[in-house]
Amino acid sequence: MPSTRPTRKAAAKAAPAPTKKSPSAKAVSTPSKKSAPATAFPKSKKRTVAEAQREESDDEFGDVEIDMASDDEEGDDEDMDGDDEEDFEADEFPEEEGQDMSAADIEDDEEDDDSEGSYMDGDSIVDSQEENDEEGSDFDDILNEDKDIDPNFGHNLNEPLPVEDDYNPIRREYPEIDAVYDSDSSTEENENTVGNIPMQWYDDYPHIGYDVDGKKIMKPATGDELDKFLSTMDDPDSWLSAHNYKEGQDVKLTAEELEIIRRLEGNRIPDADYNQYEDQVEFFSSHTEVMPLSAAPEPKRRFIPSKHEAKRIMKIVRAIREGRIVPRKSGYVPPKPKFYNLWNDTEDKPREEHVMHITAPKMKLPTHDESYNPPAEYLPTEEEINEWNELDKEDRPKNYLPQKYNALRNVPGYGQFIQERFERCLDLYLAPRVRKNRLNIDPESLIPKLPSPRDLQPFPTRLAIEFLGHQGRVRSISVDPSGLWLASGSDDKTVRVWEVATGRCMATYHLDELVTSVVWGPSKEVAVIAVSCGYKVGLILPEKIFSPELTLHSEEYLKAGFANAATAEANSKAQWKQPTPAEFDQGIRVWVHLQKAVKQVTWHRKGDYFATVAPDANNSAVLIHQLTKHQTQQPFKKTKGAVQRVMFHPTKPMFFVATQRYVRQYNLQRQELIKTMMTGVKWISSLDVHPAGDNLIIGSYDKRLCWFDLDLSSKPYKTLRYHQQAIRSVAYHKRYPLFASCADDGNVQIFHGMVYNDLLQNPLIVPVKILKNVHERVDALGALCVEWHPTQPWLISSGADHTIKLFS
């Protein structure tokens, strides 16, 4: 036996050493002593029970439940204990020796522990508990035993519990257990490794088994029956202890163990937490789960085309083939749902989508100048403010003026807000939301492709010569057939003859009335200028500038009629008279006195006849005079409307009469009306016939110039409105495809007007040049007369500013 002692001692020494020396373990356990919480550690559970029991004994009853249990069973257990003791006495007698021996050992151990304890005194942290330790001097062994019980507990339960008379000399107050990992009992060295054998096999041996090292574990010392009894008497809880046969010791049962025992005795399930009547979870039921819990592989049928489906499809196919089912047309669109989500914010399309639909325009975002504190450059100057104020509300480019405020809080309420909202609503309400099906045509492409004016040269472009000398408006100009001389009649009651090439005035004829019309005789053989002034028409022979032969011929030509006139009866409407000698010296050869003021004189192409227009003379407004016979005819018994202009046809015996709105074409031979041209203008001012005779142009006081194609229609072929003011005069060039118009705005417009011999081709009219501000406007009159040079592409115009200008 002595051989085992040191082992035990060493074991006892080894065990407490780590527990006491670990300060951290102390620190953890210290608070738990006061509050006594139930920790997760199985060790600490035991300890709490121990603590509780200790507290029970020391102070009052700390834990009611446990106390009650213990108290209740105290009396019972005593009885029981007593019974048990008797039962066990015989059986377990041989143990007593061992027990005794172990008790003696324990005493030795106590001494060792003391020395150990003194040795441990230096550890201040443990100090407070050392007193307790000293009281329970054998706590190490108890501890060991306590631990040894743990693994074997389950086995022991099956065995009849040795609740009995075990003498336990060890004091019940257990030291605190350090819940250190190393303290786990499974790692204890002195575990009995004999296994589950009947322990009576070791009854005859001093040892009770072997530890993991194969060393014998000596039986603990057991007292005799008296000791047992005494200890049972001393310890009120002795009935709570059970004998651990493996260790050969009595073990004190914990409350849980007791509870288990109690439940077993009551034929109840030992685990209190086990609910044997829990609700059944039906894993396998008739109900089909959405997500089956089955992990079964996909069945084969899933991968094989269904014969049944194939049958059904073939049935449909056959029906389609036989025409029993008519498939839908390709353009079929399933009907749209009837209703829409009124409150859908994201995809709000209540209106049917349409390509022409226009969504309501969004409000413009505010810009810099709408800021309450705009940059300085946006602030209007004083002038701009004044200008803004002066403008009408509608004309303002924006309906506010940028203003600067020092802070946003200073910005006053916006007075225009309601108004603006209202207008916005009006805008949205009145704005067309559907795009009109408008043709998108480039306006440029509609303009006929006209040749470039550059290709239509020559035409006059620049001022060449000014003819200065008249003192009044120059109402009428005319160029002689050779193109060398220009005659002009003016409001200063003179007729002047100019040299075209130099602008030199070669002759001046003073008359007694305003000169309204001046026309050179068209014949090159006869040099004569027909002049209308007041109520009479004069025929002037500009003698100086022509050769004597021509002058003489003209002289005779003009005189010839006087002999004839003497025989002819006096015409009341026109009287042919000789000029006075003074007038004769000036150059005037013949006077024709009419009833009313003459506005226009025009020659027949041969130079024998000339026509006069006196618009006020009612039916005798138009008269045709024959120069050689000094006769006057009245071609129309009645004139319709106020005659404005008349014109002889350049090649045929035709006569054009322009009244206010119509131009009539008469055949003089047959004396019949051929055609009436509806001009569409309000007041015709001028008329000219194309030298070929098939076209004519008129100018009107309502700014229009109309080109008539006589073969084409009685309506204008083209109506040109280029002038800003009333057109005063229009003229065709006799050789070049040019015509021109002049108006009160002082401008002269020059057009290229090509007439083709081919009857199918319409005349080509191209505006080629605008001569701007040719004549200054005087008393709302600008350019009064235009005339083309007979041979050159030169234009001569006269105006209210007393000048005549030649453009080349």
Partner: protein, 430 residues
Amino acid sequence: MDALAQGPQVQVKFVTQQRQYAIPETAIQTPARLKRYGLSQIINLVLQNEGEKQKPFDFLIDGEFLRASLAEYLEENNLSTENVLTIEYVESMLPPTPLSSYEHDDWVSAVQAHHLGGFVTGSYDNHVRLWNKLAECTQILTGHNGPVKAVQWLTSNGDSGTLLSGALDRSILAWEYNNADNSHSVLYECRGHTGGIESISLNATGDKFASASTDATIKIWTTIIPTVSDHIEEVTETRKKRKTVKEDRILKAPILTLAAHTGPVSAVVFDPTSADTLYSAGWDHSVRVWDVENRVNVTTKNCEKVVHALDYSQHSGLLASGHADPVIRLWDPRTEDSSVVKQTLSGHQNWVTSVSWSPSSSYMLASGSYDGLIKVWDIRAKGALYTLSHGKGSKKVLSIDWSNDILLSGGEDNQMKIHKMQDMSEHNEA
């Protein structure tokens, strides 16, 4: 020279046809930024002309005047500065200096100077005036019944001589005058035109002259002074007035009538080198070359504008014409092509009604226009060399004449202006 050496350099070789100014033909390195004046200085430096002897030169590259700097010229023509540039230099023509202005009573429509110093002018007051260099009107020849539109010297020895004048009254009068006794008389009257006389030209030999008229004909007359009137079919004059005016002038008939123009003939000029070559132009837009001897219209050249004036230069062999547009056209009469204008000179603002070649230079000509300006051109230069104002405002210039070193001009402002021109004859002797 350091300052000159800055910037890019270009090698130039100066050549000249004026021998008196010739310098050795070696390539000289000159700064490219030099302009006419700088180059002129170089020539003067080489010629060792100093002070007042320094002469201005003009520089020609490829027959065109250098008007910008050398660098700009090279850039404009995409030439490299590496190559040697050959520059021809000629003495510059000095700007014309106005000498005096002769006051008339009316528009001056015809002017001509005689190399001996007299001037004859025709005016719209129907008079022909003779002037000396002192701006004195020595004679007023009255006899025309219309504005005198053409004058032509026949012979003159300073104080006396003969001359022709054509007027709008369709007549050409040959005058004899003598300043010594202040007498003048009509030698004969050329009768035949039915329109106003626009131009008269004497041929090189002086035995014939041509007249252009608005009746679209050109008539050729001899200068022989007849003793008796040619028989002219005349209209029987019934008016006394006409008879009184006519007096007893010796009438002369044309020896030839050239009628091909279809409009008024405005200008006629004889070739100074060939007695029978005549150039004419008119309102029918044509410039015609005539062989008077054979009475043939040799060539006709057409443009699109009325021709108002025509002059021929014996030095360059070119015709210059003034038109009813602001352009002067230069023609080569020898080419057969009918409508090729060799060169155009534009710069005027209005009709060009008179042109006159320099009597000495083959490049110079003067033109008078309705814009009131006289321009002196060098056909090698772009634009006019000098622009002279005839009078105040923009009174029309009706006639100019460049004879020797004198440029006469007459116009609407009743003045005849005389400008002194530099005599360029010696420049072109080479």
